[in-house]
Symmetry: C2
């Protein structure tokens, strides 16, 4: 499909792309780049690519597809480095979880003749780093493409085919709408999970060891997403601020009402909400986005 | 271990007790009682007990151990019915998720010669009803006993042995402290999960089908606990109000700070919290209360 792909950043997503692309024979050459010598050595030991570069601007030379797989906070610096070396006719893409900010940062630095097609594979686990990657990560998951108006349609089509070859379903969406959708389906859930885990670990009247011991009553479900990569998530909240605050505001407004219902002992309001939310899970299972195994199939 | 156990209420917990008690031969007779004719017929079809009663006061006759397994909101009515028929020397227990309220409701109605030993097995799934039960539900999980001061020690010991025979670890705790512990490890997590699922399903700028489709980014983790039994959870929030509002207040205080950090773009504060919360999950896994399988082992 491509003669050469360059992956800038080789964490969970980058390494999974490398493994899946090799398995499915989508590129002759896979250049891997990361600033960290330790991570680069790990990627090499795992045999993730065909060449390894601590300097991103070397990695992108002659690449037909360049994918930024670092936290979004360093996209601007990387672009300043690689822009002069991007091949004419190359497709530039990324896997960032926010899309308006990325568009804003990349576009002014984009050389003529390079097509920028932002992408966001909605896939991931609670683990990070090159060892965390696995080739089936994207199978059956959604990958959102958010090309700006006027972007070369052939490039959009090619990148869509690449993600489909990795096993994903693709959806084309405006960057602004994408950022709202992920604010409610992903960013605010992470924020409140991080928050309650923080709250629970700093109480003076319930000990941390009690929280850990009795976590099976619900709390532990939140800890999975609160174990996600801190740098990646820091950058998400720094760059999708408006949409996150919008959705968080709605969450807090609803929570205020729910709190009032608890305060005044309004059983009917509680029962009504708790009945309504049950149906959502069934829809997610029916849509193939969730397992219906009891307790996620936990053995413990 | 007992000649006769009576289970009042036969949902997920009651049916799992019945199945486990039979498997481990803990009682010669298991009387099952529920007001709903439909549920009683289901329990009978599943062969969960040795006798079936739509009238609780019949079920408890001659029972050595009576366990209230209904939502806590009906404990008072049930006690008024069964109290005259409780056997002298019997142990009365329950499986309610709140303990101070239960103590307050049961104690004035307790006949002389009956020992009340409240219990709370910290086990459950997102499914409810007699068909949802399975005998291994309590294995390796914690069961908290909250006997009042002065309760017959032999009865406490016997009930502890019963729960250990069902596979649980037991812990004796004051009712008031229990209610605080579960407020943070279970009740507030449920409240905020119910709340965000409610928020996400009623947005005007993101459709419900988008929420369902792109739920894998974090949101779907919350839907499991927001699919729990509505009546049981309504009663939890009606009866553990003070502890829930205390812990919810702390959660909201922390969330307000976190929101401010997002508003002012304070990357350092975000990264510090997100790094700290990662460690908690590892502790829960080390304590045997969580699976370390990626994504809970989800296939989808």
């Amino acid at each position: 499909m491509f003669n050469k792909i360059a992956l800038i950043g080789i964490g969970l997503i980058g390494s999974s792309i490398a493994l899946a692309a090799r398995q499915k024979n989508l590129a002759k050459n896979i250049a891997i780049s990361t600033r960290s010598e330790k991570t680069l050595a790990e990627a090499k030991a795992l045999n993730l690519g065909t060449s390894y570069h601590s300097d991103a601007k070397e990695a992108v030379i002659d690449a037909d597809l360049v994918i930024l797989c670092t936290p979004v906070g360093v996209f601007e610096i990387i672009m300043q480095q690689i822009a002069p070396n991007l091949k004419k006719g190359a497709i530039l893409s990324d896997v960032g979880s926010v899309k308006e900010h990325v568009q804003k940062v990349i576009t002014p630095l984009l050389p003529k003749g390079v097509d920028f097609v932002p992408a966001h594979p909605m896939a991931g686990t609670e683990y990070s780093g090159p060892k965390a990657g696995f080739p089936s990560l994207f199978e059956g998951r959604w990958c959102m493409l958010t090309p700006a108006k006027g972007v070369n349609e052939k490039a959009v089509k090619t990148l869509g085919e690449f993600w489909q070859a990795l096993g994903s379903n693709i959806e084309i969406m405006e960057a602004k709408h994408h950022d709202l959708v992920v604010a409610i389906t992903s960013h605010v859930p992470h924020l409140i999970a991080y928050n309650i885990v923080g709250t629970a670990s700093e109480l003076e009247n319930v000990s941390k060891s009690e929280v850990i011991k009795y976590s099976a009553g619900g709390f532990r479900d939140f800890t999975r997403i609160a174990a996600s990569d801190p740098i990646m998530w820091r950058d998400v909240f720094l760059t999708n601020r408006d949409a996150v605050l919008d959705m968080l505001g709605r969450f807090l407004g609803d929570l205020d009402e729910l709190k009032s219902a608890v305060e005044r002992g309004d059983g009917q309001a509680l029962e009504e909400l708790f009945t309504r939310t049950r149906a959502i899970r069934k829809s997610i299972i029916d849509a193939g986005q969730e397992t219906d195994v009891v307790d996620f199939g936990r053995k413990v």
